[in-house]
């Protein structure tokens, strides 16, 4: 096959640094100078452009579908519907409940109904408008709280319950002296990555297909694409293209099957690139949540019990809802020691947009609930927010809501004390950019009140509940022009987090080589698992470490008796006899499923913790918020690349800030009201304060290098810290996020 231009290259810029150093990213210069090839840049001569017809309705029956007019348009090569799906018209991460193209019913606004290939993107888009569809409108199910009622129409054959996880730890009848109760709500956040869904499918002579795409897990994509195309898995070859952010939104398929169908039908390469607006309809979002929490404590504020009911709106299709439900449940009492926990966590189907993976994955929603509760409790017993967290914080040896014994560091109290002890920001300088409202010039200090708040979070790292979670790494060590060079080949997806940097650091450290090449990720090597659950450094990092050790062993067999350190291996000498290549499939320690009645078990591989202290200035008359400081302490086990660690903490905290004060997909009657970056606001540099970040390195003896996953924890604790700070400034209850000016001004 001829390879498209702007397909991914090997990455081999010299980054002479090993584990623990802030190695420079091999893709950094390309990204900063605008030369990096993202999947939307893919190009092949003679390629066609795909476009998608989507349902304008949240719930409707398709009565009539006619492609005649679209097919007749000049420049149009194919118009395909559900009838053209070559294999099984169903896919999904956990349940195959989602059609590639809707056949009889559409269950959400934006559901793909037909696809077009044309010789120009605009021709394709305009042909989409020529497809005639007649819908019979149905009453959409939009309220997750009543989705399970008998009277509510069933959106899927087995009803509207995707999953219910029950946590029954200890005694659910226990009483407490102090009880606080409240209802909380979390709006629908979007991952808002910058590089929209895109890829290029190239048909092969023999009926197989090559797909170049930005995604999060090549092999799970393939496992869903091949059956939909009616092909064997080895007839679908996937190469990762430049990914412009993911945050969970690329875990589900988007344009993958569509592009392949169009390519196989037209026998031409087909490229699909979503527009920004389409992107909002083309991927899952963070589950909105309704939560009822009850906390019981003794008069000193020590937790006696936690009870919660959590309803997560999964939208029209299951996506990863089952795992999100389990996270919200098993992490639902937070990073606190509490003997009695009763939680019911539900994921339900509605006709709202499908929700699935997003950074924090169920832990974010719960954290807003339990952290808000901890502040209420502190107030009820008359201690401050730091003290309540220190008194109740989990520690090594403690147990989680799932009854899992924590067998490595859980420094909750320390993290809270760390952020508490950091210097406070100075009072406002009067510079407009430091004011609520910023350069909009809405206040010169009038109405502005400062508040301080704290948040701590807990997150599981890697896949849970007994999942066989592994990664495959292949390393080849050879002499190139007389110099030893290691090439690392995995299918692990770089989404911008810096995995490629890190894998090279590991190879350099383990093999004692200077030159390391990272091969493009593709399906010619085994699965690396998903780039999610903060797991790639752990799992693919672990796999690369393991395979390097294997390579070293093989190499040393060439000189029996060598006892020096890897850094001193006489590589040139040892490699004269030829290259060494090894492949290893590496697994982290096993986990267990949850007991179906009690939700007890050891479901998680590793738990990670972060704490934030937020300082906000609130314009109380206008309801505008400036986050003045957002300081963080996080235990990362081992800072594999300190700069990258801090980068993750900055980014995660910013995403949490977004959820606290601005980011929400507004959905009314199942319809999105703000699918654009004009109205779906994400923080700018003027919204994000400079951060003080404390990185703790308390090694986890069970993990490679002692490391702990980094990417998600800061997203979890930053939101409740900011909301707590706004409460402190305003005295308002603020039980819903994002907090809007209307909530702060009662309008």
């Amino acid at each position: 096959m001829t390879v498209p231009t702007r397909a991914p290259d090997r990455l081999s810029s010299p980054i002479s640094a090993g584990v623990g150093e802030s190695a420079v990213r091999p893709d950094g210069t390309l990204k900063v100078t605008g030369e990096f090839a993202y999947s939307s840049d893919l190009w092949m001569d003679g390629m066609l452009w795909g476009a998608t017809l989507r349902s304008p309705h949240a719930y409707a029956r398709i009565v009539h579908l006619d492609t005649t007019r679209a097919l007749a348009a000049t420049g149009v090569f194919a118009v395909l519907t559900h009838e053209d799906v070559p294999g099984r018209n169903a896919y999904g991460l956990e349940h195959k409940d989602q059609p590639v193209l809707a056949s009889d019913v559409v269950r959400y606004q934006g559901e793909p109904v037909a696809i077009v290939a044309a010789d120009h993107p605009q021709t394709a888009r305009r042909a989409v408008a020529l497809i005639d569809v007649e819908y019979d409108l149905l009453d959409p199910v939009v309220d997750p709280s009543t989705a399970l009622d008998e009277a509510t129409p069933r959106l899927h054959p087995d009803g509207n319950l995707v999953r219910h996880v029950r946590i029954r730890k200890g005694n659910d009848a226990v009483q407490a002296d102090v009880v606080v109760t409240a209802d909380y709500e979390v709006g629908m956040q979007d991952q808002a990555f910058l590089g929209p869904e895109s890829g290029l499918a190239v048909p092969a002579e023999d009926g197989s297909v090559d797909l170049f795409v930005a995604t999060q897990w090549l092999h799970v994509d393939r496992g869903q694409i091949a059956p939909a195309l009616g092909l064997d898995e080895d007839q679908v070859r996937i190469t990762l293209s430049g990914v412009g952010g993911a945050f969970g939104a690329r875990e589900d398929l988007s344009m993958q099957v569509h592009a392949c169908m169009l390519a196989l039908r037209t026998r031409r390469p087909v490229k699909v690139v979503y527009s920004r607006e389409e992107s909002f309809f083309g991927h899952v979002h963070r589950h909105p949540a309704r939560m009822h929490y009850e906390h019981g404590a003794d008069r000193d504020g020590r937790l006696v019990y936690v009870k919660a009911e959590i309803i997560l709106d999964g939208g029209a299709y299951a996506s990863s809802t089952p795992a999100v439900v389990a996270n919200a449940a098993t992490l639902g009492s937070g990073p606190y020691a509490v003997d009695n926990v009763t939680i019911d966590s539900y994921g339900v189907y509605t006709n709202n947009p499908p929700c699935g993976a997003m950074r924090g994955f169920g832990a974010v929603q719960a954290a807003f609930g339990y952290e808000s509760q901890m502040d209420r409790l502190a107030e009820a017993v008359g201690i401050d927010p730091v003290e309540i967290r220190v008194r109740n914080g989990l520690a090594e040896g403690g147990t989680t809501a799932a009854g899992q014994v924590i067998d490595s560091a859980a420094p909750v109290a320390e993290l809270v004390r760390w952020v508490h002890d950091l210097p406070m920001p100075p009072p406002s300088s009067g510079d407009l950019r430091s004011m609520p409202g910023g350069v909009s010039n809405s206040t010169h200090g009038e109405g502005v009140v400062r508040g301080v708040g704290y948040g701590v979070g807990i997150k599981n790292i890697c896949f849970s509940e007994g999942f066989d979670d592994y990664s495959t790494a292949r390393v080849r060590l050879e002499l190139v022009a007389g110099e030893p060079v290691a090439s690392v080949h995995t299918s692990a997806v770089e989404v911008g987090q810096g995995l490629v940097t890190l894998l090279a650091q590991i190879a350099r450290t383990e093999l004692g080589v200077q030159q390391v090449t990272i091969e493009p990720a593709d399906t010619s090597v085994g699965s690396a698992g998903s780039t999610s659950a903060s797991r790639q450094t752990y799992v693919t990092g672990g796999a690369v470490q393991a395979v390097c050790q294997q390579v070293r062993k093989r190499l040393l067999e060439r000189r029996p008796g060598y006892v020096g350190s890897p850094g001193d291996m006489p590589l040139r000498e040892l490699l004269v006899d030829g290259p060494v290549e090894e492949t290893v499939e590496w697994r982290h320690r096993p986990t267990t499923p949850l007991d179906p009645e009690t939700g007890q078990g050891s479901p998680h591989v590793q738990l990670a913790f972060a704490a934030h202290r937020a300082v906000v200035d609130v314009d109380t008359e206008l309801g505008l918020v400036k986050v003045v400081a957002l300081d963080c302490a996080q235990d990362v086990g081992r800072a594999m690349n300190p700069q990258a660690v801090v980068g993750q903490i900055h980014g995660g905290s910013a995403q949490g800030l977004g959820l606290a004060v601005m980011e929400e997909i507004q959905v009314v009657d199942g319809l999105l009201r703000n699918p654009s970056f004009t109205d779906y606001l994400i923080p700018t540099i003027l919204d994000m304060p400079p951060m003080q970040v404390e990185v703790l390195e308390l090694a986890d003896p069970h993990a490679p290098y002692g490391l702990r996953g980094v990417g998600e924890p800061p997203t979890i604790s930053s939101t409740p810290a900011i909301v707590a700070a706004i409460r402190a400034a305003t005295g308002l209850e603020l039980t819903r996020i994002p907090v809007r000016p209307e909530h702060l001004t009662g309008t």
Partner: protein
């Protein structure tokens, strides 16, 4: 798509007269968004960036003529002392990239209720100079906006410039957005105090189908100041007056609930902005008198 690139003003007027389907483009920060979203399918673009007559501003006594293609960046750099209200509004527009490309002419061309240049132009009683092969005319700014994203411009007319007096007194502009930069106004407000003419000027943005003045608020406040003979010796205004001014500004708006905010919030925000900007102007007026 056809691209017509006149290098003189008459040639530009001829081009639009010959083909009214041409879409004028200046900074392109609205036009390109509309074209990319397929909201506009013009037969061609009329690129005005090479027309020298639109590129500059000039001063004749106390009157300014600002060419349609003068960007926000230039207004901030060159006109901050002469048109402080508009300069303040310009600082709130988009990002540095948008301020480098975007123009007041383009803002007027789009006539969005949320256009940030509009409230200060309303407060300052600007006039829009428009021209076609049929002739030139000046449209008072409060007659320019006729509906949501609709102006009084005829299909064959182009915007040449706006005319505004050099600020006769303190001017302010403030806007509300739900983030601290790069945001479309949820509501905005501009005010000007003309000490010589004993006039108060106002402009409201994003709170009605068109940008508009708050005429009752203007009359009320000017009357109160005059009554107190406070134009020349600005003693503090009673809270009740400031409060009433805010209420009248809010009452002049006809906001709606939309994705960016509720009508109730907009009204509230306008009254707060009106009170605050009045306070800043008043302090400024006081400073001038003392100086």
């Amino acid at each position: 798509m056809q691209m017509v690139r006149p290098t003189t003003w008459p040639a530009a007027l001829d081009a639009i007269a010959a083909e009214p389907g041409l879409l004028p483009i200046s900074g392109g920060t609205d036009v390109m968004v509309d074209v990319n979203f397929d909201r506009e399918r013009p037969t061609g673009l009329l690129d005005l960036t090479r027309v020298p007559e639109l590129a500059d501003w000039s001063r004749d006594g106390d009157l300014l003529r600002v060419g349609a293609n003068v960007t926000y960046a230039r207004i901030i750099d060159e006109l901050a002392a002469l048109l402080p209200g508009l300069a303040m509004a310009s600082r709130t527009v988009g990002s540095p990239q948008i301020r480098n490309r975007g123009t007041v002419g383009g803002n007027l061309g789009s006539a969005s209720p949320a256009g940030d240049a509009h409230p200060p132009l309303l407060a300052g009683l600007a006039e829009v100079e428009v021209e076609s092969v049929r002739g030139s005319r000046r449209i008072p700014i409060d007659e320019f906006f006729v509906g949501v994203k609709r102006s009084d411009l005829a299909p064959d007319e182009l915007i040449a410039a706006f005319h505004a007096p050099v600020a006769p007194g303190p001017q302010q502009f403030a806007k509300i957005g739900t983030r601290n930069a790069m945001v479309i106004a949820v509501a905005s407000f501009a005010i000007e105090l003309d000490g010589a003419a004993h006039r108060v000027g106002t402009g409201i943005g994003s709170a009605a189908a068109t940008p508009r003045r708050a005429a009752d608020a203007e009359t009320f406040l000017a009357g109160e100041i005059t009554e107190r003979a406070a134009w020349d010796s600005p003693t503090p205004l009673p809270d009740a007056v400031v409060q009433r001014f805010g209420e009248l500004v809010a009452a002049a708006a006809s906001p709606i609930d939309d994705v960016r905010g509720t009508a109730a919030y907009r009204r509230r925000a306008l009254s707060v902005l009106a009170r605050r900007t009045l306070g800043w102007c008043w302090a400024d007026l006081d400073g001038r008198q003392c100086a």
